[in-house]
């Protein structure tokens, strides 16, 4: 049986019925029921289901958290009863589906069946227990790594001369985006966003390296109030040939709270946008500059921009706009008009924009990391 399971592609394991198991020398106790995520931000994740019920929902206190607006906070319960996976809908708004049929309240999920919760689709499988345990351990490791990345991101700021909010949604468990901001002194406030090419573990490791250098001010002889000095020093430190051929793009700016000016420089990154309070236009903030790590002697350029009271700066990764709609590929110019739309009462600006992008793009299209930072200057 072990050899059989090893030789089968993952989807075939679903077809391994309990009758087939009974004919082998492998004890049923060595097998476990699980759900493998086929669609969703954590596609590939395997969830072991046992007699002990586990809760599924959007709330952070449940056992299986699904970051999906179509999932209720406490959506459903999963358990194994008499050798079958049982799903119990806990009064969710959008329902729970087995093979496209909405369940009434409680239903078995046969091996091989598809379970849909919001935009997440799972297949019920029976696999070797140790494989399921190993997959869960890997998932926990990635979770720990993702939590570490999150711990490096600064807290939103709700009061004072600079206010911030952000959304950070890696496409896989880990992504290559990172951002930060900090007061350099009483009047200078640094803001930056980096986007490492690709996503996944190696991109995340690279972005964390860069982020930690910035957080620790670990650049030799560099004035962090000078964007050109910061980009130049990072470029030398993170040359592609010494970092697994990875490059990153970056936007770095320093806001002077007395002068109300923003001095900024770009390294291959698309513009940040400054939007006035009346939302009349989106002023692109970008200077010429090649991406980081590709050229040792790259030169960067800074510009200074006046910041009107009440305006907001939008910084984001390319995953925010490089999405597919039902008809075509979206580009930056498709996204920018959304910045000018009115704020939505009761919804954060980041969430408004994320929902707007989600509404136009295909469900399988948010393939890249989605990072958006909004900095408001009252």
């Amino acid at each position: 049986m072990e050899a059989l399971l090893r030789s089968l592609p993952p989807e075939s394991t679903a077809a391994v019925s309990r009758q087939a198991v009974a004919k082998t020398s492998v004890a049923v106790d060595d097998l476990a029921l699980s759900l493998i995520m086929l669609e969703g931000r954590q596609a590939g994740r395997r969830i072991k289901v046992s007699e002990r019920p586990i809760t599924v929902g959007r709330d952070h206190h449940v056992d299986v958290v699904l970051a999906d607006s179509d999932v209720s906070r406490l959506h459903c319960l999963l358990s194994v009863v008499d050798g079958s996976v049982i799903v119990e809908d806990l009064g969710s708004t959008n329902g729970t589906f087995i093979d496209d049929q909405r369940i009434d309240r409680r239903a078995p999920v046969p091996i091989g069946a598809l379970l849909r919760i919001g935009e997440h689709v799972f297949r019920c499988e029976q696999c070797r227990r140790r494989d399921v345990d190993r997959a869960e351990e890997q998932h926990r490791d990635l979770d720990r790594a993702a939590n570490y990345v999150l711990s490096l991101l600064p807290r939103p700021i709700a009061t004072g001369p600079v206010r911030t909010e952000w959304i950070f949604l890696p496409s896989a468990r880990l992504g290559g985006d990172a951002f930060g901001y900090e007061a350099l002194d009483a009047h200078a406030f640094a803001i930056y966003l980096i986007d490492v090419c690709g996503h996944g573990v190696s991109a995340a490791m690279h972005s964390v390296s860069v982020l930690n250098v910035l957080r620790q001010h670990a650049l030799p002889a560099t004035d962090f109030k000078d964007p050109v000095q910061v980009l130049s020093a990072l470029n030398v430190m993170f040359q592609m040939d010494r970092h697994d051929d990875q490059y990153f793009t970056m936007w770095y700016g320093v806001y002077d709270t007395r002068e109300r000016t923003l001095t900024h420089a770009s390294a291959g990154h698309h513009p940040g946008y400054l939007v006035p309070e009346e939302r009349s236009d989106a002023q692109p903030l970008k200077t010429p500059g090649v991406m980081m790590g590709a050229m040792l002697d790259a030169r960067f350029h800074a510009e200074r921009t006046r910041v009107p009271a009440g305006s907001s700066l939008y910084l984001f990764s390319d995953g925010v706009f490089e999405v597919l709609t039902a008809e075509r590929q979206w580009h930056l110019s498709d996204f920018v008009p959304y910045l000018l739309q009115p704020l939505t009462r009761g919804t954060s600006e980041c969430r408004r924009l994320h929902q707007a992008v989600k509404a136009v793009c295909r469900s399988d299209s948010l393939e890249d990391d989605f990072s958006l930072l909004v900095v408001t200057f009252p």
């Binding site: 090419c197 040939d241 090649v290 590929q329 295909r362």
Partner: protein, 120 residues
């Protein structure tokens, strides 16, 4: 092309004994690059000859596609050869301009200009 079907194509031909031409088509996004990167590198780097890349059939280029082009350009540079790109569609050209790729790899309009750029 079906949107998002991750179809990418690559054709290698010789311009002459010293120059290789590669024609890329489709989407140079992460899945597309995964499909062709090994062949793209293997077709150009070991030979160490200068190469021109026709991008006119490329509909979209993401960061992994740019990385693939830079990696090959740098490898050829180490072998005293060059890589020149030509004919990108307007949105692809805009993406390449955003990252200032032309500071690393020449990007020109057509094949004749690409061959000229190799000798400049």
């Amino acid at each position: 092309m079906t949107m998002g079907a991750h179809i990418v194509g690559m054709e290698v031909t010789g311009v002459d004994d010293n120059v290789t031409k590669v024609t890329l088509t489709g989407r140079l996004d992460t899945p597309g690059v995964e499909d062709i990167e090994t062949r793209f590198v293997a077709s150009l780097v070991p030979a160490g000859k200068s190469a021109i890349v026709d991008l006119s059939g490329v509909e979209f280029v993401a960061s992994m596609g740019i990385r693939m082009l830079i990696t090959v350009a740098r490898s050829l540079h180490q072998r005293h050869a060059r890589l020149v790109l030509y004919g990108p569609q307007s949105m692809v050209k805009k993406t390449l301009e955003t990252v200032s790729l032309s500071e690393i790899i020449p990007i020109v309009g057509d094949q004749a200009e690409a061959i000229d750029a190799l000798s400049s």
